[in-house]
């Protein structure tokens, strides 16, 4: 691990990863900062995800399986993989960088306190969810999330987001994205169980792990291995796909933008 990397944002990222290692029982009900008390979910667990970017092949199997499993509207995503092109400044060599994104199920989720009706809340197992019975679709949470991880579901007219496939975890199954991860990059697990794969990987790779936008103090619980710290903040990059043209060169727009 090079010094440069460690001395920069890596510090913050490492701190965030560290949170997962401290006993969480006290935090779970007390709430941190302005967070309302956590409710529902299994208080003995704290779910998190680790994504080994070296093993992400950018195939988008997670994107599609999640979309199907969770009946997301067309054109809206609970998870997806962004693909970037990077250049070696010295040699000019180019490479691709795959960045899977989803809700970070933050330890300090900014989306929760802004909800005027307490529809969005954090469960005791750390999963941030939306109670659609309460949600009025005001989208405060959508705007509060610095990770663009939420959207308004046009069918239900409520806030929609990744739940780590809580319905599957509760059935003893794996989230769709984890189950279908072709490269084996996505690892989910209970970070309070020191023997879980994720706990062991956090212990093993601790200081190499990074999270997105640590400076926002959201304390994300999705950890990235093999991360380039410049992707920790939203990279300034030129979009590759600007438009959709038909065979005559006529602009058609995005087919699913109306949803």
């Amino acid at each position: 691990m090079d010094l440069m990397r460690r001395s920069l944002l890596g510090q913050l990222a490492r701190l965030s990863a560290g949170v997962a290692l401290v006993p969480l029982s006290s935090i779970a009900t007390a709430g941190i900062n302005a967070q309302p008390a956590r409710r529902e979910g299994d208080p003995t667990k704290r779910y998190g995800m680790l994504i080994d970017l070296r093993q992400c092949i950018g195939c988008q199997a997670c994107t599609v399986s999640c979309h199907i499993e969770n009946a997301a509207p067309m054109g809206k995503f609970r998870t997806t993989v962004s693909q970037y092109e990077v250049e070696d400044q010295a040699s000019g060599a180019l490479a691709t960088f795959m960045l899977p994104r989803l809700c970070n199920h933050c330890e300090n989720p900014p989306c929760v306190p802004v909800c005027p009706v307490e529809a969005t809340f954090q469960r005791q197992d750390g999963i941030v969810v939306v109670d659609s019975d309460r949600c009025v679709g005001c989208a405060y949470c959508v705007n509060a999330c610095p990770y663009d991880a939420r959207f308004i579901n046009d069918k239900t007219q409520t806030a929609d987001k990744c739940t780590f496939c809580a319905h599957r975890l509760e059935a003893g199954l794996l989230p769709a994205c984890v189950e279908s991860c072709v490269g084996g990059a996505r690892i989910i697990g209970d970070m309070r169980d020191p023997n879980s794969q994720i706990s062991q990987m956090i212990a093993e790779y601790g200081e190499q792990l990074m999270v997105l936008q640590p400076e926002k103090n959201t304390v994300p619980q999705v950890f990235y291995l093999g991360m380039d710290e410049r992707f920790v903040t939203r990279p300034v990059a030129e979009a590759a796909l600007l438009e959709v043209l038909d065979d005559q060169g006529k602009e058609m727009g995005y087919e699913f933008r109306g949803h």
Partner: protein
């Protein structure tokens, strides 16, 4: 400094996700401004889980006890998402019979990390996918994005579920629905079917008593005027070939190979001494140390997609492998998240320059496996504990115009053995300089050039294979090779040295990138590197894989290879392949008339397999002969073969050139748009069949496909779903062909069984597979309950003998039969080995004659610029001044050639912008995001310029899978009703629209690779113009 620090962000590429992840903003912001409160939406099923699917089963995390969800079932079958043909687990709603979601079959080597042993009870396999003890993420079995999305094919709005007959001119997209029985009658009996005059039916065409052309009797019987083509073997080719080759017995069956990767396959076959089935290998990624991927890339392209992607991902994380991606475009395989890989840009279609440069360096620097290559024969290999040997030391007669020119010098040439006998082995030179039998010494000289006196007293010049290879590699110097391929000389040397330094754990792999003007020799040269490294059959080297459990042969239960009255096809293929032109009547007539028999009217390719690339254009031009009927099964050459539409579309529309065209397909694609009749086929998870793997898997495997859901299309009068199987069975029965109907399938005791329904064939094939070698045990009741095969039981009981049912159920319950992964290695060797003599010099190719100039083809790989059919350099006819860029295509890691109808794939990647290098963009005044016109000698398309440095200067990259005109891209009218108009299905462009008719041919044809007849799509000459800014 860490590599990542030095890298500059360049741009977001590809995944629409990057843009659309944030798409949730716009509406809510408006709502916020308006102060709307309360949700007006549809109430989801669950307040927390929304409309997420109910789990298929649940597992107690403490005990592991598994409880099935009675409303759903899980069944294992095949994915049709691409040609990898992975085994998948399909989750089905028992009430609606809808497929809910698809993932991988844990028993399947192409889908699972470590596939489960067959003996594993199904319930345990399902438990292993769960979170219980975190098993499911320690050993996953996955489906890729396509595999996940493809289920929408089942209820795709463009699916054809009824027999159709055209009601307007061919290709005009107007149809009426007819009954299956009417369709069969019209196709078999013919008549004035379209008010355009008489059409011969299949009964008339099925004529084995008369010749097509008495002037050219070698063309064979009139029955050859039926041509059958299919996309590829999705598990039903055995039945299709039973009809085509052995019941109807026409010579003309073709598949997509020649516009897919045939140049690669033949190049591989040349090294592996198998130009019959064109054997090929894949790297043992797990154990390799250095791999050069040339014109293929794991996780971007290549086959098997998931398996290679998964293995490369692991190797990257574990740091066991260094690899390079030699390709005109940057792709997903070159990963910034790990340091042990990088991209090397190469000019399209110049791979032979790169390969020959590496060969030259290896030969000049002793960078080859000397000890292995010196093994002259099997005896030496056995003594050295090697499973194979090569012909590197064998001697080729090079004296011109000698009857034995280009053949190996054999014992019989010196009168030491009878020609053609077992003792007639190749001769080599031993360490003492003596000519000896290749089976008599443990080592022989690699580089030989000398005169030899033959038995008749004449003297000939012989050169060893290695000498010929060296001469060929030295045809150009490194600097010239570097200039031709665009890779700096230092880089070539660096790669060659690295390749050599890893010995037998250095591997190369190539595929679709070889579909270029010199594609065969490019692939031959690339694969030669594997031989020079002696990595065949080696752990960490090149693996031929395990092959299949073949149920279609003379099996232990049923003989599916033979049947009473079986015929064999006779005559010349439409593609004039695998037949020596010198034996044709045309040749003989020319010689008799004192004319130069060369060039032939159009290429005859003595070594190439029957190629669909030549079949259609040749048939429509009537050379060697015209056809009267065409049946296509899912085949789409018009979309897939560069330049074909422009070359043949008008002729295809002409009923005088082709009387009858029947398409069997669940969809109307660009090719079967021109059909007269469409037979609705089963789709995806509704089909029967058995498939294997395209190498890459080290063990033996056969995937079982069966209708895990009921086919949704029209039924026959007997109540069977109309399908490919039902169609051929019905035609065969109506024409009274043998091998179908009653008494068609002999069992092992010689009793005959019927073939009236698809099950009659496939269930018996299943019995064969289940009983091969050590028979499979019987499935337990529990297996049946957990694998969704309860619904299969009535068919199993109706069709199979009692003792066959248990093992057949065991097979279907696991989605096939798979060799256990216990150990694929024996020391440093792979257990499944390729034992034929590996070829530095291919005698088969070296003794074949190019019919366009009458010269021998080179038996060793060589570099050449791409040529047209008359041997004129392509760049002489289509100059760089006029056509400054070379277009190439690459496989999409998302979209497949027939997947455009999947909305979830369009949702992620709706379009394929054209990749252009910034230097070229500046040259032509084009900016990132400009709309451009791309013109070639064969056509013009419009695209959006994606300007970057991620593509080789001078080339233009086009991702394959877009630019459709059918499959939903243009509505068809059926019974007066129009299909929906979905403009987004037409988005993007197809490189094959830039292909062209070879102007130097006398019989129409697209630009084809000379040896293999492969369609050329890598390195098409084009020019670009800016149309506007978007």
């Amino acid at each position: 400094m860490d590599k990542s620090r030095r890298r500059l962000l360049k741009g977001a590429v590809a995944a629409g996700g990057a843009a659309t992840f944030a798409a949730g903003y716009s509406d809510p912001l408006i709502k916020l401004a308006k102060g709307v409160t309360g949700s007006a939406g549809e109430k989801p099923k669950d307040r927390i889980h929304g409309n997420s699917l109910a789990p298929e089963y649940s597992v107690d995390l403490k005990t592991g006890e598994l409880t099935l969800n009675p409303d759903q079932r899980v069944a294992f079958t095949i994915c049709y998402g691409c040609t990898t043909q992975c085994g998948v687990r399909v989750r089905i709603d028992n009430t609606t019979e809808k497929v809910l979601r698809v993932s991988g079959n844990p028993y399947h080597p192409l889908s699972a990390d470590e596939h489960l042993p067959m003996k594993t009870p199904v319930v345990e396999a399902l438990r292993g996918l769960s979170a219980y003890a975190e098993q499911g993420q320690q050993n996953r079995s996955t489906a890729c994005a396509r595999g996940n999305a493809m289920m929408s094919q089942l209820d795709n709005p463009f699916r054809i579920d009824h027999c159709l007959k055209r009601v307007a001119g061919r290709g005009e997209r107007k149809w009426e629905k007819i009954s299956f029985e009417q369709l069969i009658e019209e196709i078999c009996e013919g008549g004035d079917l379209f008010g355009e005059g008489h059409v011969d039916g299949l009964r008339t065409i099925h004529n084995h008593d008369e010749l097509i052309d008495p002037e050219n009797p070698e063309y064979g019987p009139k029955a050859n005027q039926l041509m059958v083509m299919e996309a590829t073997d999705y598990g039903r080719s055995d039945l299709l070939k039973r009809f085509t080759l052995n019941a109807f017995a026409t010579r003309n069956y073709g598949h997509h190979g020649s516009y897919c990767g045939l140049a690669f396959r033949m190049g591989s076959g040349a090294v592996m001494n198998n130009l019959v089935s064109n054997a090929h290998v894949k790297p043992d990624i797990k154990n390799a140390e250095f791999i050069m991927y040339i014109g293929t890339a794991p996780s971007q392209a290549g086959n098997p997609f998931k398996l290679q992607g998964r293995l490369i991902a692991k190797a990257r994380a574990q740091g066991t492998l260094e690899y390079v991606i030699v390709d005109p475009a940057l792709n997903a395989a070159a990963s910034h998240a790990a340091d042990n890989n990088h991209w090397v840009p190469i000019r399209p279609g110049s791979d032979s320059a790169f390969a020959m440069a590496i060969i030259q360096w290896l030969l000049d620097n002793q960078g080859y496996a000397k000890d292995f290559l010196e093994l002259p024969g099997k005896k030496a290999a056995d003594a050295k504990d090697e499973v194979s040997h090569s012909n590197a030391t064998h001697l080729v007669i090079t004296t011109k115009v000698h009857p034995r020119e280009s053949f190996f010098l054999r014992a019989s040439d010196l009168g030491l053995a009878e020609a053609g006998s077992d003792a007639d082995v190749p001769l080599v030179v031993d360490a003492a300089g003596k000519l000896v039998s290749s089976e008599s010494v443990l080592a022989a000289e690699l580089f030989v050039e000398r005169e030899v006196e033959l038995v008749g007293g004449e003297t000939v010049l012989v050169k060893s294979s290695m000498t010929l290879l060296r001469e060929s590699a030295n045809e150009y110097d490194l600097a010239t090779y570097a200039e031709h391929c665009g890779i700096p000389q230092e880089k070539i040397i660096e790669l060659a040295a690295k390749f050599a330094s890893h010995g037998r754990r250095a591997v190369v792999n190539c595929h679709g990138g070889m579909m270029s003007g010199n594609g065969f020799y490019s692939a031959f040269g690339v694969q030669m590197l594997n031989l020079l490294a002696a990595n065949y059959n080696r752990k960490g080297g090149s693996s031929v894989g395990g092959g299949i459990f073949n149920g279609a042969g003379k099996g232990p239960r049923y003989n599916l290879a033979d049947f009473p009255g079986k015929r064999g096809p006779k005559g010349v293929f439409l593609s004039r392949s695998r037949f020596p032109y010198q034996k044709s009547s045309e040749y003989k007539r020319k010689v008799a008339a004192g004319e130069n028999p060369y060039p032939s009217r159009a290429p005859w390719r003595p070594i190439a397999p029957p190629t669909l690339t030549e079949h259609l254009p040749s048939a429509l031009d009537g050379y060697p002969y015209p056809i009267k009927a065409l049946i296509g099964c899912m085949a789409n050459p018009i979309y897939g073969q560069a330049g074909l539409e422009a070359t043949i579309a008008d002729k295809l529309k002409d009923p005088k050139r082709l009387g009858l065209f029947v398409a069997v397909d669940g969809f109307i694609n660009e090719t079967n748009r021109f059909a007269d009749y469409i037979v609705p086929d089963s789709v995806m998870y509704e089909v029967w069949g058995f498939t294997g793997a395209w190498k890459g898997a080290l063990g033996k495997l056969t995937t079982a496909c069966w209708p895990v859901v009921e086919p949704r299309q029209q039924k026959t009068a007997e109540g069977e779903p109309v399908s490919m199987d039902a169609f051929f069975i019905a035609v065969a029965k109506r024409l009274g062909l043998k091998g179908f109907g009653e008494n068609a399938i002999p069992d092992a005791d010689g009793n005959l069984h019927p073939l009236n329904r698809a099950e009659d064939y496939y269930l018996r094939m299943a019995a064969n597979i289940a009983f091969l070698g050590k028979p499979l045990p019987s499935a337990s009741e529990d297996d049946l309950a957990h694998s969704g095969i309860v619904r299969l039981q009535p068919e199993v009981e109706k069709t199979l003998k009692e003792e066959e049912r248990g093992p057949v159920n065991f097979l279907y319950a696991r989605g096939g039969r798979f060799e256990d992964a216990t150990d694929h290695y024996k020391g440093e060797q792979l257990k499944n080995a390729w034992t034929k003599t590996l070829c530095v010099y291919s005698e088969t190719i070296g003794t074949s004659i190019d019919t366009m100039n009458g010269e021998f083809n080179s038996g060793v790989p060589r570099h050449s610029h791409p040529l047209l059919a008359n041997k004129q350099p392509m760049r002489e006819v289509f100059t760089e001044q006029e056509w400054p860029l070379l277009a190439f295509s690459f496989k999409s890691n998302l979209m497949n050639s027939y997947a455009i109808g999947n909305e979830r794939l369009r949702m992620i990647k709706p379009y394929n912008p054209v990749q252009m290098n910034i230097k070229d963009a500046q040259r032509f005044g084009i900016k990132h995001g400009d709309t451009i016109s791309i013109e070639s000698p064969g056509g013009e398309v419009v695209g959006l310029a994606l300007v970057s440095e991620s593509v080789m200067p001078g080339s233009l990259g086009i991702e394959h899978g877009y630019g459709h005109r059918d499959l939903g891209a243009t509505p068809h009218i059926i019974d007066g009703e129009s299909q929906p108009d979905m403009p987004w299905m037409r988005a993007g462009l197809n490189i094959n629209d830039l292909g062209f008719r070879d102007p130097t041919r006398n019989v129409d044809g697209t630009w084809l690779e000379p040896i293999s007849g492969s369609a050329i799509r890598q390195g098409l000459p084009v020019r670009v113009t800016r149309l506007g800014t978007s």
